[in-house]
Assembly symmetry: C2
Homo-oligomer: 125 residues x 2
């Protein structure tokens, strides 16, 4: 697959794909004799993984470290596991926080709805 095909398929811009490669999130992408990137299905799966983790808030730096450990082979299995577990914990925290904020927003909107029914009300903020 060319970079533009992967870009469409994964919904990630070609620039971002090249950026991820430079940043160490993807390595060893095959090239055609002419030097053009030739992505495999496996590469796509990895890109989807990166995309998913990025959208959840994992930083480029954390992902870079993860894939760097990968390159060092099997003996880093435990370290990688622990890295993921640590990220999971902070995601969990953000999840709870988001849940609370959603509740707060729900409440605030209900207050607005009340104010809108009974004319002449205003809120503090």
């Amino acid at each position: 697959m060319t970079i533009s095909e992967v870009s469409k398929k994964c919904n990630v811009s070609a620039d971002t794909l090249r950026y991820y490669e430079k940043a160490g999130l993807i390595s060893f992408i095959n090239r055609t004799p002419g030097g053009v990137r030739n992505y495999t299905e496996q590469d796509c799966k990895q890109i989807e993984f990166i995309k998913c983790m990025r959208s959840a808030g994992l930083s480029i730096e954390v992902l870079r470290k993860y894939f760097e450990l990968f390159k060092r082979g099997k003996r880093t299995l435990k370290t990688r596991r622990d890295l993921l577990a640590k990220e999971r914990e902070s995601l969990r925290a953000r999840f709870i926080e988001l849940q609370d904020t959603l509740k707060r927003l729900d409440y605030k909107i209900s207050v607005y709805d009340k104010a809108l029914k009974s004319k002449d009300k205003e809120l503090k903020f």
Copy 2:
């Protein structure tokens, strides 16, 4: 309250408080005759609200618009309600997404745990 007191109380740096003011997220902070900001309890509540919304991912720009509508008075009640409702929807979407990512991480970590038990296993990424 002085800016440093509010900073401690709300766990927001003084620079950030001044930045929020410049950005239009807080207005009409009282000043002492000498020109020093003097925050009220009400100001703190608003700052807590901003902090909460910011940490959930609402942009400065959205909050700026919200408080700008506020300054225009009661007739913007409906607009403000709708603005909040719209933000709520995108938070909900991010919430679901985060939930899925958490599941995916849980699964991946379980795969790691299996690989760690049975020696000699390696993953694709």
